[in-house]
């Protein structure tokens, strides 16, 4: 696998995400740049089966994007891999567009409703259970945010998935450590996700969520099913590479300044 290509794609997706946000300020930019490398590894790394020409193909792996707001980076990515035309990116939020401030399943590539948090893991567990009942081999990926983990329904789903040995499930936590109003540790305590997931019966791994090699390596090794559902804690930085927004406690509700926007486009830098 050409990991350099995934790095190039990550840069491209970053720049285009910034442009999408500039077009439609209601989109959440800070939480949408933290999972860029995770999505790029899944889509460009050959780790997830998908068919843009047949979005509900029976043999697709299912991707449930539970942290809907923080996935605007998927707009340019889904366009890039062929789910819809790139011209759609120029009209985000407009009357004619299906790409809104929060992604909805009218967008090709999205499976479920994602604007309300804490639903993805339980729905994914039902999908995983269905595929197990049918003896099918497809995988289910669930993308969640660490702030979202405050939602109690997720923990109901975690217990269910472990008890039912849903080994076809891989949850990924975009652990950017900031919720809407503050650092999550100030809201709900120090980060102990690994211990929590382990005690709920999940196999846990933790990586740098911006490091393509680490992300690819662990997800590649997880192509072989284990004996428990798996969760990857991907440590990320909210608002990464956006001047004035990166790692700010209120970054979720911050919009990019004109100065930052120009700087990002002119420098064209992402590493």
């Amino acid at each position: 696998m050409n990991l350099e290509l995934i790095k190039e794609k990550s840069k491209q997706i970053f720049i285009e995400t910034i442009k999408v946000h500039w077009k439609s300020k209601e989109t959440r930019v800070a939480s949408s740049v933290s999972p860029i490398e995770i999505f790029c590894v899944l889509f460009y790394g050959g780790l997830m089966k998908y068919d843009p020409k047949n979005r509900f193909a029976d043999n697709r792996d299912r991707l449930i994007v539970s942290k809907g707001h923080g996935s605007i980076c998927l707009y340019p990515l889904l366009a890039d891999v062929g789910y819809f035309d790139k011209s759609e990116l120029a009209i985000v939020g407009d009357k004619e567009s299906f790409l809104g401030g929060i992604p909805d399943p009218v967008i090709p590539g999205y499976e479920t409703v994602n604007g309300s948090l804490g639903h993805g893991l339980g729905v994914a567990s039902g999908i995983a259970k269905a595929l197990k009942l049918k003896g099918k081999k497809e995988k289910i990926f669930v993308m969640m945010g660490d702030g979202e983990l405050c939602e109690g329904a997720i923990w109901e789903g975690l217990m269910f998935a472990a008890h039912h040995k849903l080994t076809n499930m891989i949850a990924i936590i975009d652990n950017n450590k900031i919720s809407m109003l503050d650092f999550t540790k100030k809201i709900i305590g120090e980060d102990s996700w690994c211990e929590k997931f382990q005690s709920f019966g999940w196999e846990v791994a933790r990586v740098d969520g911006h490091n393509i090699e680490q992300l690819y390596s662990i997800l590649k090794s997880w192509e072989v099913e284990g004996d428990r559902p798996r969760v990857l804690i991907a440590d990320t930085i909210k608002g990464r590479m956006i001047p004035g927004i990166e790692n700010q406690p209120l970054s979720h509700v911050m919009s990019i300044s004109e100065e930052s926007y120009r700087k990002i486009l002119e420098e064209n830098k992402y590493e």
């Binding site: 479920t112 999908i127 259970k129 039912h164």
Partner: protein, 322 residues
């Protein structure tokens, strides 16, 4: 089967029979059972799942199974399968159905005061209105075990065309009102004028239809002609039939074990009467639970009387309007 049967037993019996043929059907409960559930569990261990006391997850897991093509039956106590997980129903059933077709039946046991001495946590006066406000979900409120059993086939074949439905079941044994033969057509129709009256009718739902029938029988024995309309389905009901039936009456009393004036049966009928310009000729009255939570114990009739919908109180209302 005797004539005195719990709605849930007939429903579950029929489901148990159907699960042999409909291999894509699954039954999930939130740690809530019955002897028939035990048989479903024994005969279909892979397709009978207890998610534990976790109604939010019940809806979420059910959604996932439905997205993969299963016909999903979700079973719990009425207030918990509606309000405990309302956001999950709104997002993953009502909204998602706009884009992805699913087949999901929510079965809530314990309509109205049917958990008689369990108090306001287990009694359910809100489900008709809160579930009725959601698009893409039919609310079905049967009055006997033939109607509830007919919902199994109705759901498996999605005869309502809505994809999702909330079935509101009484927890107690009730006498039959219909026959097995006519139940399917009553369900499809969504309402039934059980007693044809002349001037005044009671429009009731669920258990209260039994009360309405008793009150009407007393008046009609003395020569009055009080009509009774059993209202079964709160979406996709036969509007032309309701219109033609209501046109024959000048006085209408709605009767429900639900909060009065909060969007349940009374408001449905009032809106219907208004929309069809019947209001000028019609005298409308509604009987339901007043806006408070009570802790009255005793019989169901004692509780109804405390809330103002006891049988004598219904009779007084009829007498006043006649």
């Amino acid at each position: 089967m005797s004539n005195f049967v719990a709605m849930r037993d007939s429903f579950l019996e029929r489901l148990h029979e159907s699960m042999k043929e409909y291999k894509n059907s699954v039954f999930l409960c939130a740690d809530f059972g019955s002897p028939v559930v035990d048989r479903i569990r024994r005969d279909f261990p892979d397709r009978c799942i207890n998610v534990g006391i976790a109604e939010q997850n019940l809806i979420n897991v059910g959604t996932g199974l439905a997205l993969e093509g299963y016909s999903v039956f979700l079973y719990a106590i009425a207030p918990f399968i509606t309000m405990r997980c309302y956001e999950q129903i709104r997002v993953n059933i009502a909204i998602l159905q706009e884009v992805r077709k699913m087949n999901i039946t929510l079965i809530g046991v314990g309509a109205g005061c049917s958990y008689v001495v369990s108090g306001p946590t287990h009694q359910c006066f809100e489900d008709l209105s809160v579930m009725r406000t959601l698009p893409n979900i039919e609310v079905i409120s049967p009055s006997d075990h033939h109607l509830s059993a007919a919902v199994v086939d109705y759901a498996l074949k999605d005869l309502g065309g809505c994809g999702a439905r909330y079935l509101r079941l009484d927890a107690q044994l009730q006498n039959e009102i219909y026959t097995k033969e006519c139940a399917t057509s009553v369900l499809q129709n969504g309402l039934c004028e059980i007693i044809k009256g002349s001037d005044l009718c009671i429009v009731s739902t669920g258990y209260m239809t039994h009360q309405a029938l008793k009150v009407a029988a007393e008046f009609n024995r003395d020569g009055s002609k009080v009509g009774v309309i059993d209202f079964v389905k709160f979406l996709n009901f036969n509007t032309s039939e309701l219109l033609s039936v209501l046109k024959r009456y000048r006085k209408i009393i709605t009767l429900e074990e639900g909060f009065k004036g909060k969007g349940g049966l009374d408001n449905l009928i009032q809106d219907f009467v208004f929309e069809h310009h019947l209001s000028r000729e019609h005298d409308l009255a509604s009987m339901g639970i007043p806006p408070r939570y009570g802790f009255q114990l005793g019989s169901r009739e004692d509780i109804h009387t405390a809330y103002g919908i006891g049988r004598d109180q219904i009779a007084q209302k009829v007498k006043m309007l006649l």
